[in-house]
Amino acid sequence: MLAFIIRRIISTIPVMAFVALFVFSLLYIAPGDPAAVIAGDQASPADVERIRASLGLDRPYLVRFGEWFFRVLQGDLGTSIFTSLPVTQLIAQRIEPTLSLMVLTLIFAVVIAVPMGVVAAWKAGTWVDRAVVGFAVFGFSVPVFVIGYLLAYIFALKLDWLPVQGYTPIAQGIWPWFKNLVLPSITLGTVYIALIARITRATMLEVLQQDYIRTARSKGLAQNSVLYLHALKNAAVPVITIIGIGVALLIGGAVVTESVFAIPGLGRLTLDAILRRDYPVIQGVVLIFSFVYVLVNLAVDLIYTLVDPRIRY
């Protein structure tokens, strides 16, 4: 068990190394010569060369990758071309809204989607089931910004129940923070809910046909205890897997959701960085998001062994 955990943690190292190499290459092949930019228009080619040498830009690719990687390990992601601020500082300023949005969405989605899938499987073939399946197809097909505008139009503009846009830091109170995040979370969560509900339903359908479920029923256990204690526990592994994989959808969707609801988070930072071609920032954001994604899926793998003792390594 401990050996497995250690092995699993070690196995993320080559993955992270590849991501780092990819992200570094992004800056390496990015158009534009930083040395020429710093030297300015008046500089002679010799000046540019000197600056290039002083920045270490004339050294081979792998040497530069090694140095860059070493700095990243120390928490230095470079300096933004546009604002001249350290990338880590920019990310630190913007991480709270994005993290709030993603965590809230995750909670919303799991609380809504898992019971949805369970009920659909239990009532397989009825209108409830068809409604859930229909919702899943709908959730996959309607792009995240369409849902965002639709919800904002109905609940903020027409009904005036919730704020249209913006973000309030959690330090200024839980309620204003929550009120601003309700619509963005539902927006971001729709496709995620569709995904989790669909997999939960499929796995539960399979589990409900097993002998031990029939046994549990025949010994007179209450329906809910059969569904949630016996069946869902056995269906947990695929459901947890998809919750982990689905975090990729959350990360991609967050960029768009933040733009629709004017939330000043990492997505906004990415967007501005793209428009200004601020490569160190783009690099930093991709690296951070990928790192989070790898960690989430590492956690998922470790949770398996807790929920399902049948899994032995």
Partner: protein, 294 residues
């Protein structure tokens, strides 16, 4: 999309008692509905110039941000361009990107998957690279790639294709690995059959069904990613009529002129829904074992 790789149908199941063709569409209504909607979109895209459209890039400051009317069916945008014409022409970009990415990612993913499945010594390296690529969320990967190049339809297709290849490669590799264990494939190998013959006779026929289903999901996902890229300004050039671009232009005004965002959003949703329905229907009919479970 991110659905896990489908388990294989066994070879003998696929050939069992095919229903007559006429009842096929009745038995799988989602194929019929999805196919019909998709054909309608293709029709709109192909015959865009004949569908009472005007030049979708023609700017006219005198008729800016009009609401929908008899003259401008879907209204006009901030530059006075006719939104109906832009939406109709936008179908071309969406469908071209969706179909191109589905085909390119399938072909490239097939090649990588076959290579990884047969060349054992390379498998470890290839899979680590694929794991690494898959640990970057697809939209983020596409955004990062687009940040390196100029916005154009071709570059958008390449960026999304690269982001989607790992999923196909994984699927194909899993098919190859499970088929290699099958007795009839072992028999073929021990008979001295060469790798190309095994691929053509045994591997490809078994990958076609799951790959077709996968391709439809990739097509749907590619259309959404294209719209997102264009919406955030990292996609096709702003003047090109694409649904994402039209929505991006309507973003600043959406509280007072929601129709600018509404019409392209509607068309995009219908098209993606059509492709997803087609994919679900194909999965149910091509892969009976999976259809029972999902």
């Amino acid at each position: 999309m991110t659905a896990p790789a489908a388990p294989l149908p066994l070879a003998d199941e696929a050939g069992a008692a095919k229903p007559p063709r006429r009842s096929y569409l009745r038995k799988h209504p989602s194929v019929a509905i999805g196919g019909f909607l998709l054909l309608a979109m293709i029709f709109i895209a192909v015959f865009a110039p004949l569908l009472f459209t005007v030049d979708p890039t023609a700017i006219s400051t005198a008729r800016r941000t009009r609401v929908p009317s008899e003259l401008y069916w879907f209204g006009t945008d901030m530059l006075g361009r006719d939104i109906y014409s832009r939406v109709v022409y936008g179908a071309r970009v969406s469908l071209i990107v969706g179909f191109s990415v589905a085909i390119l990612a399938s072909v490239a993913g097939l090649a990588v998957g076959l290579f990884s499945g047969f060349v054992r010594w390379a498998d470890g390296i290839v899979m680590r690279v694929i794991d690494g690529m898959m640990s970057i969320p697809p939209i983020l990967l596409a955004i990062a790639l687009m940040a390196l190049t100029r916005g154009s339809v071709g570059n958008v297709i390449i960026a999304i294709t690269i982001a989607e290849i790992p999923r196909v490669a994984r699927l194909v590799r899993s098919v190859v690995l499970s088929l290699r264990e099958q007795p009839y494939v072992e028999a073929a190998i021990s008979n001295g059959a060469r790798v190309p013959r095994i691929i053509i006779k045994h591997i490809l026929p078994n990958t076609i069904a799951p790959m077709t289903v996968q391709a439809t999901y990739i097509c749907a996902s590619a259309m959404i990613i294209e719209a997102i890229l264009s919406f955030i300004g990292a996609g096709v050039p702003p003047a090109t009529p694409s649904w994402g671009n039209i929505m991006a232009e309507g973003r600043a005004l959406w509280q007072v002129r929601p129709h600018i965002v509404f019409f392209p959003a509607l068309f995009l949703s219908i098209t993606v829904l059509a492709v997803n329905l087609l994919g679900d229907g194909l999965r149910d009919s091509l892969d009976p074992r999976l259809a029972k479970s999902i």
